[in-house]
């Protein structure tokens, strides 16, 4: 990936350690530990109600965890002297005073952050709200509020961003624009943590992934690694010869789909290249040789986030 010189190289911009929160008897977040480094976009993926927003709110001190800690740039968020200069947040674009204009809303945030007020107009221009700047936020569409929210997150010239469902309400063009903006932010050494309940959204914008289900992290890692196929499909016009060759090479294989064989990658030890070599050595003709899952992440997502009721018999809101 193309990357310009990173101006500062502090690792671990955003970390959480065993964050846990219950409301009454209902566990909402359980032992969530994650880590986001400069130069990366981490997608925080989970179904609605999986605990994403509560986790993000615990990171910025809006919700008190029952247990666990979170740090930004090495210290708890509430100890940052002027937090919006370090971490920009977009947690709820509807949480704005409807009677204030977009410009006033942004100006108040800029004053508090202590940045030059010139930045207000520049940011309004960046998010495409210049024409609507003096209209009241109450008249904005959800997409416009989302754009204003992105401008609010950027107001303090932060080094990290936490965005809760930033694609909500944006049109396809706006979503593509936001992805480019976040990619550019990360390529310049920024750290991004964004949540989404939409798999393809995360897949298109993130390079790291944390999947949460029922309040707990069920998968985490580089997107490429998580996407990597766990098995290979290999097919020959002479299945019997191919099966014999695989057995001779001590490669576990299962029959199917059809008359093809499925081979486990065994943690990366078996690759398509290895199988091609086996076939060549045994003079078996191959007509198909490919990673088996074309929708790996999708299967992963659905298998990991399948709805599991905490209390059978109760219906989740």
């Amino acid at each position: 990936m193309w990357r310009r010189g990173v101006p500062f190289t502090l690792e671990r911009m955003i970390t959480t350690s065993a964050l846990t929160k219950s409301y009454g008897d209902l566990p909402v977040v359980r032992d969530v530990s994650l880590r986001c480094d400069p130069g990366t976009i981490t997608g925080f993926l989970g179904a609605n109600g999986a605990g994403k927003s509560t986790t993000l709110k615990m990171i910025v001190g809006l919700v008190r965890p029952d247990r666990g800690t979170a740090t930004i740039d090495g210290r708890p968020f509430v100890q940052l002297p002027n937090p919006s200069r370090v971490l920009g947040t977009l947690l709820d674009a509807s949480a704005m005073h409807p009677g204030r204009s977009g410009r006033s809303t942004l100006t108040i945030a800029a004053r508090l952050a202590g940045v030059h007020l010139r930045r207000v107009d520049q940011l309004l221009d960046l998010v495409g709200l210049t024409a609507a700047a003096d209209k009241r936020v109450g008249t904005y569409s959800l997409g416009m509020r989302q754009r204003l929210g992105i401008a609010l997150a950027l107001v303090g010239e932060p080094r990290a961003l936490i965005l809760d469902e930033p694609a909500n309400g944006l049109d396809p063009e706006g979503i593509a624009w936001m992805r480019r903006l976040l990619r550019d932010f990360a390529d310049h050494g920024g750290t991004v943590l964004l949540s989404s309940h939409l798999l393809h959204e995360v897949q298109a914008s993130a390079d790291h992934l944390v999947v949460i289900s029922g309040g707990a992290v069920v998968a985490a890692g580089r997107l490429d690694d998580l996407l990597a196929s766990s098995s290979i499909v290999v097919r020959s016009p002479d299945p019997r010869a191919l099966g014999a060759a695989l057995t001779a090479a001590r490669i576990d294989h299962a029959v199917g789909p059809g008359d093809a064989f499925t081979v486990d990658v065994c943690g990366g030890r078996i690759t398509t290249e290895v199988l091609a070599a086996v076939a060549r050595d045994h003079h078996v003709l191959l007509t198909e040789l490919r990673p088996s899952d074309s929708h790996g992440l999708e299967q992963l997502f659905f298998s990991l986030t399948a709805y599991r009721p905490a209390n059978p018999g109760e219906v989740a809101a």
């Binding site: 809006l62 919006s84 508090l112 495409g128 303090g156 932060p158 080094r159």
Partner: protein, 257 residues
Amino acid sequence: MTTSFPLATPVAPAPSPSVIPFSRLVRVEWTKATDTRAARWLLTLVALSTAAILTVPVVAPSTFDQTHASYLRVAALGLSILLPVVVILTFTGEWSQRSVITTFTQEPRRNRVMNAKLAVSLLMSGAGALVGGGLAAAAIAAATASGRSLEANLGVGAVASYACYVMLNVLAAVALGALLQNSAAAISATFALPAAFALIGTASSLVSEWIDMSTPWNWVLQNDWGGHLPQIIVSTVFWVVLPLAAGLWRTTRRDVG
């Protein structure tokens, strides 16, 4: 659309980022309390309702003593109707609009934000007292122009007591707003609770003199502190100190959902 985002480029950390100065917090909270159309209407209504009440001693001289101090007291009563609503909204509005999410992520030391709102409320009570004084002066001028002669009995003590009364009413509203964190509940309570205690006070002189705000705070308004200081202090603790302390405690702990 642009393909480069210079504004969204993260910058290297400043050598030593400083805490947001308290004066900046106060300025921002003052802006938030006064910059919306609704807030300006409400502030206009505060002035209008005070002016309206001040016409009573002008047109109906028999209703109030025709003295300068008496006119100032009428202004104080006028201010005490809607000024408390303005300051309540300063504390509760952000919970209703949920903009606390932005406020408390920009300054997570919630006590500092609350202190700034408290400072804004005190500034408003001072500004309100000034406006009320101006309106009282206008009413006195109108009464004088109609040929009456009013007793000029205003001393420093009477003016200070007037300002003190306005401030006490504002602080009681602040305390309810900070405690209840809900506009409708706090505004209802600021009208209903004093009435309820006044009603209980009719049955118990202990309540009417020590707890119910109307009697002890009326002594303040009348500049009649002599021998009443203990009652004034106790009722102030009850209406201001205790609910405000509980409200600050609740605010620092409340989860922002």
